[in-house]
Amino acid sequence: MDSRSDRLLLAASRVDGAGFDVFYRRHRNAVLAYHAGRVRDPELAADLTAETFAAALVAVHDRGRELPGEPVGWLFTIAQRKFFDSCRRGRVEDAARRRLSFERLELDDQDIERIGEIADSTDLLEHLDRYLPPDQAFAVKARIVDERDYSEIASQLRCSPEVVRMRVSRALKTLRQVATEDHDA
Protein backbone atom coordinates (compact mmCIF):
# COMPACT_ATOMS: atom_id res chain seq x y z
CA MET A 1 0.00 0.00 0.00
CA ASP A 2 1.34 3.38 -0.96
CA SER A 3 1.83 5.46 2.18
CA ARG A 4 2.37 8.83 0.53
CA SER A 5 0.03 11.60 1.56
CA ASP A 6 -2.61 12.84 -0.85
CA ARG A 7 -0.73 16.09 -1.19
CA LEU A 8 2.43 14.30 -2.11
CA LEU A 9 0.59 12.13 -4.61
CA LEU A 10 -0.83 15.17 -6.38
CA ALA A 11 2.56 16.85 -6.35
CA ALA A 12 4.10 13.71 -7.81
CA SER A 13 1.45 13.67 -10.51
CA ARG A 14 2.25 17.24 -11.46
CA VAL A 15 6.02 16.84 -11.30
CA ASP A 16 6.59 13.24 -12.36
CA GLY A 17 3.41 12.42 -14.25
CA ALA A 18 2.59 9.60 -11.83
CA GLY A 19 0.73 9.50 -8.56
CA PHE A 20 -2.79 10.40 -9.47
CA ASP A 21 -3.69 6.75 -9.93
CA VAL A 22 -2.99 6.06 -6.26
CA PHE A 23 -5.03 9.11 -5.25
CA TYR A 24 -7.80 7.85 -7.49
CA ARG A 25 -7.74 4.33 -6.14
CA ARG A 26 -7.72 5.63 -2.59
CA HIS A 27 -10.85 7.74 -3.01
CA ARG A 28 -12.73 6.39 -5.99
CA ASN A 29 -15.17 4.28 -3.98
CA ALA A 30 -16.03 7.21 -1.74
CA VAL A 31 -16.64 9.56 -4.65
CA LEU A 32 -18.72 6.94 -6.40
CA ALA A 33 -20.70 6.36 -3.24
CA TYR A 34 -21.22 10.11 -2.89
CA HIS A 35 -22.63 10.43 -6.40
CA ALA A 36 -24.58 7.18 -6.24
CA GLY A 37 -26.28 8.43 -3.11
CA ARG A 38 -27.52 11.49 -4.98
CA VAL A 39 -28.42 10.50 -8.47
CA ARG A 40 -29.73 7.03 -7.68
CA ASP A 41 -28.65 5.91 -11.12
CA PRO A 42 -25.50 3.79 -11.50
CA GLU A 43 -24.63 5.07 -14.95
CA LEU A 44 -24.96 8.71 -13.94
CA ALA A 45 -22.96 8.01 -10.79
CA ALA A 46 -20.18 6.46 -12.86
CA ASP A 47 -20.18 9.39 -15.27
CA LEU A 48 -20.07 11.91 -12.44
CA THR A 49 -17.26 10.00 -10.76
CA ALA A 50 -15.23 10.03 -13.97
CA GLU A 51 -15.95 13.71 -14.48
CA THR A 52 -14.98 14.56 -10.90
CA PHE A 53 -11.60 12.88 -11.14
CA ALA A 54 -11.00 14.17 -14.66
CA ALA A 55 -11.56 17.73 -13.45
CA ALA A 56 -9.27 17.11 -10.52
CA LEU A 57 -6.57 15.76 -12.81
CA VAL A 58 -6.82 18.75 -15.14
CA ALA A 59 -6.50 21.08 -12.16
CA VAL A 60 -3.50 19.22 -10.77
CA HIS A 61 -1.69 19.64 -14.06
CA ASP A 62 -2.55 23.30 -14.42
CA ARG A 63 0.72 24.80 -13.28
CA GLY A 64 -0.89 28.19 -12.93
CA ARG A 65 -2.76 26.98 -9.89
CA GLU A 66 -1.55 25.92 -6.50
CA LEU A 67 -2.10 22.35 -5.54
CA PRO A 68 -4.80 21.89 -2.92
CA GLY A 69 -3.77 22.02 0.66
CA GLU A 70 -6.49 19.57 1.59
CA PRO A 71 -6.96 17.25 -1.36
CA VAL A 72 -9.89 15.21 -0.09
CA GLY A 73 -12.01 18.18 0.83
CA TRP A 74 -11.07 19.73 -2.48
CA LEU A 75 -12.02 16.56 -4.31
CA PHE A 76 -15.44 16.44 -2.71
CA THR A 77 -15.98 20.10 -3.41
CA ILE A 78 -15.38 19.35 -7.07
CA ALA A 79 -17.73 16.37 -6.80
CA GLN A 80 -20.43 18.56 -5.34
CA ARG A 81 -20.01 21.22 -8.00
CA LYS A 82 -20.10 18.67 -10.76
CA PHE A 83 -23.27 17.28 -9.31
CA PHE A 84 -24.91 20.68 -9.01
CA ASP A 85 -23.80 21.74 -12.48
CA SER A 86 -25.19 18.54 -13.91
CA CYS A 87 -28.50 19.08 -12.17
CA ARG A 88 -28.72 22.63 -13.46
CA ARG A 89 -27.97 21.64 -17.01
CA GLY A 90 -30.02 18.50 -17.03
CA ARG A 91 -27.15 16.35 -18.16
CA VAL A 92 -23.96 15.06 -16.65
CA GLU A 93 -21.16 17.53 -17.04
CA ASP A 94 -18.44 16.21 -19.34
CA ALA A 95 -16.20 19.22 -19.93
CA ALA A 96 -13.17 17.73 -18.21
CA ARG A 97 -13.56 14.35 -19.85
CA ARG A 98 -13.88 15.93 -23.27
CA ARG A 99 -10.79 17.96 -22.57
CA LEU A 100 -8.93 14.78 -21.75
CA SER A 101 -10.43 12.88 -24.69
CA PHE A 102 -12.02 10.27 -22.47
CA GLU A 103 -13.85 7.47 -24.17
CA ARG A 104 -17.51 7.09 -23.33
CA LEU A 105 -18.20 4.63 -20.54
CA GLU A 106 -20.27 1.69 -21.61
CA LEU A 107 -21.73 -0.14 -18.63
CA ASP A 108 -23.00 -3.68 -18.61
CA ASP A 109 -25.10 -5.43 -15.98
CA GLN A 110 -22.00 -6.50 -14.10
CA ASP A 111 -20.81 -2.89 -13.87
CA ILE A 112 -24.17 -1.71 -12.60
CA GLU A 113 -24.22 -4.45 -10.01
CA ARG A 114 -20.67 -3.53 -8.99
CA ILE A 115 -21.58 0.14 -8.57
CA GLY A 116 -24.43 -0.85 -6.31
CA GLU A 117 -22.12 -3.01 -4.24
CA ILE A 118 -19.60 -0.22 -3.84
CA ALA A 119 -22.24 2.34 -2.96
CA ASP A 120 -23.73 0.03 -0.36
CA SER A 121 -20.48 -1.07 1.19
CA THR A 122 -18.65 2.27 1.31
CA ASP A 123 -18.92 4.25 4.52
CA LEU A 124 -18.50 7.73 3.12
CA LEU A 125 -18.49 9.45 6.48
CA GLU A 126 -15.87 7.09 7.83
CA HIS A 127 -13.79 7.78 4.75
CA LEU A 128 -13.96 11.52 5.30
CA ASP A 129 -13.10 11.15 8.97
CA ARG A 130 -10.11 9.08 8.02
CA TYR A 131 -8.68 11.43 5.43
CA LEU A 132 -9.74 14.91 6.55
CA PRO A 133 -8.81 17.00 9.55
CA PRO A 134 -11.74 17.39 11.95
CA ASP A 135 -12.81 20.85 10.80
CA GLN A 136 -12.86 19.94 7.17
CA ALA A 137 -14.48 16.59 7.86
CA PHE A 138 -17.22 18.27 9.79
CA ALA A 139 -17.84 20.85 7.10
CA VAL A 140 -17.79 18.42 4.24
CA LYS A 141 -20.04 15.95 5.97
CA ALA A 142 -22.54 18.52 7.11
CA ARG A 143 -22.79 20.72 4.07
CA ILE A 144 -21.59 18.72 1.11
CA VAL A 145 -22.48 15.15 1.96
CA ASP A 146 -25.53 15.60 4.14
CA GLU A 147 -26.57 18.96 2.68
CA ARG A 148 -28.00 19.87 6.03
CA ASP A 149 -28.98 23.40 6.93
CA TYR A 150 -27.27 25.27 9.71
CA SER A 151 -30.13 25.17 12.16
CA GLU A 152 -30.34 21.42 11.95
CA ILE A 153 -26.62 21.10 12.58
CA ALA A 154 -26.82 23.59 15.41
CA SER A 155 -29.58 21.66 17.02
CA GLN A 156 -27.51 18.54 16.96
CA LEU A 157 -24.45 20.31 18.30
CA ARG A 158 -26.39 22.28 20.88
CA CYS A 159 -25.02 25.62 19.77
CA SER A 160 -26.31 28.61 17.83
CA PRO A 161 -26.72 28.46 14.05
CA GLU A 162 -24.37 31.40 13.76
CA VAL A 163 -21.62 29.49 15.48
CA VAL A 164 -22.18 26.58 13.16
CA ARG A 165 -22.33 28.80 10.12
CA MET A 166 -19.07 30.47 10.98
CA ARG A 167 -17.37 27.19 11.65
CA VAL A 168 -18.59 25.62 8.44
CA SER A 169 -17.88 28.78 6.52
CA ARG A 170 -14.28 28.85 7.64
CA ALA A 171 -13.76 25.24 6.73
CA LEU A 172 -15.45 25.51 3.37
CA LYS A 173 -13.48 28.59 2.55
CA THR A 174 -10.33 26.62 3.15
CA LEU A 175 -11.56 23.84 0.95
CA ARG A 176 -12.63 26.12 -1.85
CA GLN A 177 -9.56 28.25 -2.10
CA VAL A 178 -8.31 26.04 -4.85
CA ALA A 179 -11.51 24.39 -5.97
CA THR A 180 -13.26 27.57 -7.04
CA GLU A 181 -11.84 27.50 -10.53
CA ASP A 182 -11.15 23.82 -10.77
CA HIS A 183 -14.65 22.67 -11.50
CA ASP A 184 -14.57 24.65 -14.72
CA ALA A 185 -11.67 22.58 -15.95
Binding site: F53, E66, L67, I118
Partner: protein
Protein backbone atom coordinates in the same frame (compact mmCIF):
# COMPACT_ATOMS: atom_id res chain seq x y z
CA UNK B 1 -12.64 -7.23 -18.22
CA UNK B 2 -11.75 -4.51 -15.69
CA UNK B 3 -14.67 -3.13 -13.75
CA UNK B 4 -16.03 0.33 -14.43
CA UNK B 5 -13.82 2.07 -11.88
CA UNK B 6 -10.73 0.38 -13.28
CA UNK B 7 -11.69 1.56 -16.74
CA UNK B 8 -12.06 5.12 -15.49
CA UNK B 9 -8.70 4.76 -13.78
CA UNK B 10 -7.07 3.56 -16.98
CA UNK B 11 -8.31 6.62 -18.82
CA UNK B 12 -7.04 8.85 -16.03
CA UNK B 13 -3.62 7.22 -16.26
CA UNK B 14 -3.43 7.87 -19.98
CA UNK B 15 -4.57 11.45 -19.47
CA UNK B 16 -2.10 12.01 -16.65
CA UNK B 17 0.73 10.91 -18.90
CA UNK B 18 -0.39 13.17 -21.74
CA UNK B 19 -0.81 16.15 -19.45
CA UNK B 20 2.60 15.59 -17.96
CA UNK B 21 4.21 15.55 -21.36
CA UNK B 22 2.45 18.76 -22.25
CA UNK B 23 3.61 20.46 -19.06
CA UNK B 24 7.16 19.16 -19.23
CA UNK B 25 8.03 19.16 -22.91
CA UNK B 26 11.43 17.67 -22.32
CA UNK B 27 9.78 14.91 -20.32
CA UNK B 28 8.94 13.44 -23.70
CA UNK B 29 12.45 12.21 -23.46
CA UNK B 30 13.18 12.47 -19.78
CA UNK B 31 10.24 10.78 -18.23
CA UNK B 32 11.33 7.71 -16.33
CA UNK B 33 9.46 4.80 -17.73
CA UNK B 34 9.00 3.58 -14.18
CA UNK B 35 6.17 6.02 -14.02
CA UNK B 36 4.72 4.86 -17.28
CA UNK B 37 3.73 1.66 -15.72
CA UNK B 38 0.95 -0.65 -15.54
CA UNK B 39 -1.66 -2.38 -16.97
CA UNK B 40 -3.71 -4.10 -19.45
CA UNK B 41 -5.16 -1.09 -21.17
CA UNK B 42 -1.78 0.03 -22.39
CA UNK B 43 -1.27 -3.41 -23.84
CA UNK B 44 -4.65 -3.30 -25.47
CA UNK B 45 -3.84 0.07 -26.95
CA UNK B 46 -0.62 -1.28 -28.28
CA UNK B 47 -2.48 -3.85 -30.26
CA UNK B 48 -4.79 -1.21 -31.62
CA UNK B 49 -1.87 0.99 -32.49
CA UNK B 50 -0.19 -1.88 -34.25
CA UNK B 51 -3.23 -2.36 -36.42
CA UNK B 52 -3.35 1.31 -37.24
CA UNK B 53 0.30 1.46 -38.07
CA UNK B 54 0.03 -1.60 -40.23
CA UNK B 55 -2.90 -0.17 -42.09
CA UNK B 56 -1.03 3.06 -42.50
CA UNK B 57 1.94 1.40 -44.08
CA UNK B 58 -0.27 -0.63 -46.36
CA UNK B 59 -2.11 2.43 -47.56
CA UNK B 60 1.13 4.24 -48.18
CA UNK B 61 0.67 6.79 -45.49
CA UNK B 62 -2.38 8.15 -43.81
CA UNK B 63 -4.61 5.72 -42.03
CA UNK B 64 -5.17 7.25 -38.63
CA UNK B 65 -8.28 9.38 -38.38
CA UNK B 66 -7.51 13.08 -38.31
CA UNK B 67 -3.89 12.41 -39.15
CA UNK B 68 -1.91 15.37 -40.39
CA UNK B 69 0.36 14.24 -43.18
CA UNK B 70 3.99 15.21 -42.79
CA UNK B 71 3.38 17.83 -40.16
CA UNK B 72 3.21 18.11 -36.40
CA UNK B 73 0.02 19.28 -34.67
CA UNK B 74 0.35 21.61 -31.74
CA UNK B 75 0.11 20.20 -28.24
CA UNK B 76 -3.33 21.72 -27.96
CA UNK B 77 -4.50 20.11 -31.19
CA UNK B 78 -3.06 16.79 -30.11
CA UNK B 79 -4.19 16.75 -26.51
CA UNK B 80 -7.58 18.35 -26.77
CA UNK B 81 -8.72 18.18 -30.36
CA UNK B 82 -7.68 14.64 -31.20
CA UNK B 83 -5.50 15.52 -34.15
CA UNK B 84 -2.74 13.04 -34.82
CA UNK B 85 0.31 13.19 -37.01
CA UNK B 86 0.67 10.68 -39.80
CA UNK B 87 3.80 8.58 -39.27
CA UNK B 88 6.86 9.88 -41.07
CA UNK B 89 7.42 7.95 -44.29
CA UNK B 90 10.64 9.55 -45.47
CA UNK B 91 13.70 11.08 -43.87
CA UNK B 92 15.15 14.50 -44.45
CA UNK B 93 18.86 15.39 -44.78
CA UNK B 94 18.97 17.02 -41.35
CA UNK B 95 17.84 13.76 -39.80
CA UNK B 96 20.43 11.62 -41.51
CA UNK B 97 23.42 13.94 -41.96
CA UNK B 98 24.81 13.44 -38.46
CA UNK B 99 23.22 10.15 -37.50
CA UNK B 100 24.72 7.10 -39.17
CA UNK B 101 22.16 4.93 -37.43
CA UNK B 102 19.45 6.45 -39.62
CA UNK B 103 21.49 6.17 -42.80
CA UNK B 104 21.61 2.40 -42.72
CA UNK B 105 18.78 0.24 -43.99
CA UNK B 106 16.16 -1.16 -41.66
CA UNK B 107 16.50 -4.89 -41.07
CA UNK B 108 14.25 -7.46 -39.47
CA UNK B 109 16.45 -7.33 -36.36
CA UNK B 110 15.41 -3.73 -35.83
CA UNK B 111 11.76 -4.53 -35.23
CA UNK B 112 10.49 -3.34 -31.85
CA UNK B 113 8.93 -6.27 -30.01
CA UNK B 114 5.24 -5.98 -29.27
CA UNK B 115 4.72 -4.29 -25.95
CA UNK B 116 8.31 -3.07 -25.61
CA UNK B 117 7.32 0.57 -25.84
CA UNK B 118 4.14 2.60 -25.78
CA UNK B 119 3.24 3.31 -29.38
CA UNK B 120 -0.44 4.11 -29.12
CA UNK B 121 -0.74 7.51 -30.81
CA UNK B 122 -3.30 8.61 -28.23
CA UNK B 123 -0.89 8.43 -25.34
CA UNK B 124 2.53 8.31 -26.96
CA UNK B 125 3.16 11.91 -27.88
CA UNK B 126 6.14 11.00 -30.03
CA UNK B 127 3.92 8.86 -32.23
CA UNK B 128 0.63 10.71 -32.11
CA UNK B 129 1.92 14.26 -32.21
CA UNK B 130 5.37 14.05 -33.74
CA UNK B 131 4.71 11.26 -36.22
CA UNK B 132 7.44 8.88 -35.04
CA UNK B 133 7.34 5.86 -37.29
CA UNK B 134 8.10 2.74 -35.30
CA UNK B 135 8.32 0.77 -38.52
CA UNK B 136 11.42 2.79 -39.43
CA UNK B 137 13.10 2.27 -36.05
CA UNK B 138 16.69 1.07 -35.93
CA UNK B 139 17.90 -0.97 -32.97
CA UNK B 140 20.97 0.92 -31.80
CA UNK B 141 21.91 -1.03 -28.70
CA UNK B 142 20.78 -3.97 -26.67
CA UNK B 143 22.12 -4.81 -23.24
CA UNK B 144 20.81 -6.85 -20.33
CA UNK B 145 17.47 -7.26 -22.05
CA UNK B 146 17.03 -3.55 -22.70
CA UNK B 147 16.82 -2.26 -26.28
CA UNK B 148 17.31 1.26 -27.58
CA UNK B 149 15.76 2.30 -30.88
CA UNK B 150 16.16 5.41 -32.98
CA UNK B 151 13.51 6.42 -35.52
CA UNK B 152 12.50 9.41 -37.62
CA UNK B 153 9.41 11.55 -37.17
CA UNK B 154 8.00 14.51 -39.08
CA UNK B 155 9.59 17.90 -39.62
CA UNK B 156 13.13 16.77 -38.95
CA UNK B 157 12.43 15.21 -35.58
CA UNK B 158 14.43 12.23 -34.40
CA UNK B 159 13.01 9.94 -31.75
CA UNK B 160 14.41 7.58 -29.16
CA UNK B 161 12.65 4.68 -27.50
CA UNK B 162 13.96 2.42 -24.77
CA UNK B 163 12.31 -0.72 -23.48
CA UNK B 164 12.60 -4.43 -22.79
CA UNK B 165 13.34 -6.69 -25.73
CA UNK B 166 11.70 -9.78 -24.27
CA UNK B 167 8.27 -10.52 -22.91
CA UNK B 168 8.03 -10.98 -19.18
CA UNK B 169 10.59 -8.34 -18.35
CA UNK B 170 9.98 -6.37 -15.16
CA UNK B 171 10.75 -3.26 -17.17
CA UNK B 172 8.16 -1.34 -19.15
CA UNK B 173 9.21 0.98 -21.90
CA UNK B 174 7.75 4.37 -22.53
CA UNK B 175 6.65 6.02 -25.73
CA UNK B 176 9.30 7.39 -28.06
CA UNK B 177 10.53 10.87 -27.23
CA UNK B 178 11.52 13.21 -30.03
CA UNK B 179 13.75 16.23 -30.61
CA UNK B 180 14.69 18.26 -33.68
CA UNK B 181 17.77 16.72 -35.25
CA UNK B 182 19.53 20.06 -35.55
CA UNK B 183 18.83 23.73 -35.06
CA UNK B 184 18.12 23.89 -38.79
CA UNK B 185 15.34 21.30 -38.67
CA UNK B 186 11.84 22.55 -39.48
CA UNK B 187 10.61 21.52 -36.06
CA UNK B 188 13.37 23.55 -34.40
CA UNK B 189 12.33 26.61 -36.35
CA UNK B 190 8.84 26.74 -34.90
CA UNK B 191 9.49 25.28 -31.47
CA UNK B 192 8.03 27.62 -28.90
CA UNK B 193 6.42 27.64 -25.50
CA UNK B 194 2.72 28.04 -24.91
CA UNK B 195 -0.53 26.19 -25.43
CA UNK B 196 -0.75 26.81 -29.17
CA UNK B 197 2.85 26.04 -29.98
CA UNK B 198 4.47 22.92 -31.25
CA UNK B 199 6.04 22.61 -27.88
CA UNK B 200 6.62 18.92 -27.58
CA UNK B 201 10.21 19.98 -27.23
CA UNK B 202 11.60 23.13 -25.68
CA UNK B 203 13.10 25.73 -28.00
CA UNK B 204 16.81 25.29 -28.56
CA UNK B 205 16.92 21.60 -27.74
CA UNK B 206 18.33 19.35 -30.43
CA UNK B 207 19.74 15.91 -30.88
CA UNK B 208 23.03 17.49 -31.91
CA UNK B 209 23.26 19.04 -28.47
CA UNK B 210 22.49 15.83 -26.62
CA UNK B 211 18.97 16.72 -25.59
CA UNK B 212 17.39 13.47 -26.71
CA UNK B 213 17.56 10.89 -23.99
CA UNK B 214 15.20 8.58 -22.15
CA UNK B 215 15.18 6.26 -19.18
CA UNK B 216 13.58 2.99 -18.32
CA UNK B 217 13.28 1.64 -14.84
CA UNK B 218 11.49 -1.23 -13.18
CA UNK B 219 7.73 -0.79 -13.08
CA UNK B 220 5.93 0.90 -10.31
CA UNK B 221 5.96 -1.39 -7.28
CA UNK B 222 2.41 -0.32 -6.53
CA UNK B 223 1.20 -2.33 -9.47
CA UNK B 224 -0.17 -5.61 -8.14
CA UNK B 225 1.15 -7.48 -11.16
CA UNK B 226 4.70 -6.54 -10.41
CA UNK B 227 7.43 -7.96 -8.28
CA UNK B 228 7.67 -7.30 -4.56
CA UNK B 229 8.95 -3.83 -3.83
CA UNK B 230 12.19 -5.07 -2.32
CA UNK B 231 13.01 -6.78 -5.61
CA UNK B 232 12.37 -3.53 -7.45
CA UNK B 233 14.81 -1.67 -5.31
CA UNK B 234 17.58 -3.92 -6.57
CA UNK B 235 16.85 -3.38 -10.24
CA UNK B 236 18.81 -0.68 -12.04
CA UNK B 237 17.47 2.16 -14.12
CA UNK B 238 18.78 2.45 -17.66
CA UNK B 239 19.40 5.77 -19.30
CA UNK B 240 20.00 6.10 -23.02
CA UNK B 241 20.62 9.04 -25.29
CA UNK B 242 21.27 9.87 -28.91
CA UNK B 243 24.43 11.72 -29.94
CA UNK B 244 25.65 12.79 -33.37
CA UNK B 245 28.33 11.12 -35.48
CA UNK B 246 31.81 11.62 -34.16
CA UNK B 247 30.91 11.41 -30.49
CA UNK B 248 32.58 8.25 -29.24
CA UNK B 249 32.24 8.61 -25.48
CA UNK B 250 30.06 10.29 -22.92
CA UNK B 251 30.91 11.08 -19.33
CA UNK B 252 28.30 10.90 -16.64
CA UNK B 253 28.71 12.80 -13.38
CA UNK B 254 26.64 11.80 -10.39
CA UNK B 255 25.49 13.80 -7.41
CA UNK B 256 28.48 13.82 -5.09
CA UNK B 257 30.96 14.07 -7.93
CA UNK B 258 31.56 10.49 -9.08
CA UNK B 259 32.21 10.30 -12.83
CA UNK B 260 32.52 7.53 -15.37
CA UNK B 261 32.98 7.49 -19.13
CA UNK B 262 30.91 5.23 -21.36
CA UNK B 263 31.16 4.37 -25.05
CA UNK B 264 28.72 5.69 -27.61
CA UNK B 265 27.80 3.02 -30.13
CA UNK B 266 25.53 3.48 -33.13
CA UNK B 267 24.92 7.07 -32.01
CA UNK B 268 23.56 5.87 -28.67
CA UNK B 269 24.80 5.47 -25.11
CA UNK B 270 23.16 3.09 -22.68
CA UNK B 271 24.07 3.27 -19.00
CA UNK B 272 22.77 1.34 -15.98
CA UNK B 273 22.32 3.19 -12.71
CA UNK B 274 21.36 2.01 -9.28
CA UNK B 275 19.19 4.29 -7.14
CA UNK B 276 20.80 4.99 -3.79
CA UNK B 277 18.51 7.48 -2.13
CA UNK B 278 16.62 10.69 -2.54
CA UNK B 279 17.17 14.35 -1.90
CA UNK B 280 14.71 16.71 -0.29
CA UNK B 281 14.17 19.10 -3.15
CA UNK B 282 10.71 20.34 -2.31
CA UNK B 283 10.04 23.53 -0.48
CA UNK B 284 7.04 22.46 1.53
CA UNK B 285 5.54 19.03 1.81
CA UNK B 286 6.14 18.31 -1.82
CA UNK B 287 3.40 20.60 -2.99
CA UNK B 288 5.46 22.52 -5.48
CA UNK B 289 7.71 21.55 -8.32
CA UNK B 290 11.35 21.21 -7.38
CA UNK B 291 12.92 24.66 -7.19
CA UNK B 292 15.50 25.75 -9.71
CA UNK B 293 18.09 25.44 -6.98
CA UNK B 294 17.51 21.69 -6.69
CA UNK B 295 20.80 19.97 -7.43
CA UNK B 296 21.27 17.93 -10.57
CA UNK B 297 21.84 14.31 -9.75
CA UNK B 298 22.94 13.28 -13.25
CA UNK B 299 25.06 15.38 -15.58
CA UNK B 300 26.18 14.35 -19.03
CA UNK B 301 29.28 15.69 -20.77
CA UNK B 302 30.49 15.00 -24.31
CA UNK B 303 32.40 16.61 -27.13
CA UNK B 304 29.92 17.26 -29.91
CA UNK B 305 29.92 19.15 -33.19
CA UNK B 306 29.15 22.35 -31.33
CA UNK B 307 31.92 21.90 -28.76
CA UNK B 308 31.89 20.45 -25.28
CA UNK B 309 28.39 20.03 -23.93
CA UNK B 310 27.59 19.53 -20.26
CA UNK B 311 24.03 19.43 -19.06
CA UNK B 312 21.93 17.91 -16.30
CA UNK B 313 19.62 15.01 -17.01
CA UNK B 314 16.46 14.18 -15.11
CA UNK B 315 14.95 12.98 -12.95
CA UNK B 316 15.66 15.24 -10.02
CA UNK B 317 15.50 14.10 -6.48
CA UNK B 318 16.95 10.61 -6.78
CA UNK B 319 20.62 9.89 -6.20
CA UNK B 320 22.41 7.20 -8.16
CA UNK B 321 25.43 4.94 -8.30
CA UNK B 322 26.93 3.36 -11.38
CA UNK B 323 25.59 -0.13 -11.78
CA UNK B 324 28.32 -1.38 -14.09
Amino acid sequence: MPDVLDRIGNQLLDAEHALHLAAFPSAATRKPSTARRLRSLARRHLVIAGVLMGASAGAGGIAIADALSGSVPTDHQYLYQGQYAAPATTMTPDQTADLAILRRAVTSADAIPAGAIISNPKVAMGVGEDGANVALARLAQESNGIGVWVMPANEGLVCLAIGPVAAGSPYEGGGPGCMPATAASISAQHACDGPNCNDTFPPGNTVADGDLFDTVGPPDPRSPANLPSDAHSRLPMYIAGVLPDGVSTVTLTLYGGATKTFPVQNNVFLIALQPTGSLSVYNNLGENAPPASAPATLTITFNGPNGTVSKPLGPQGTTWAFAN
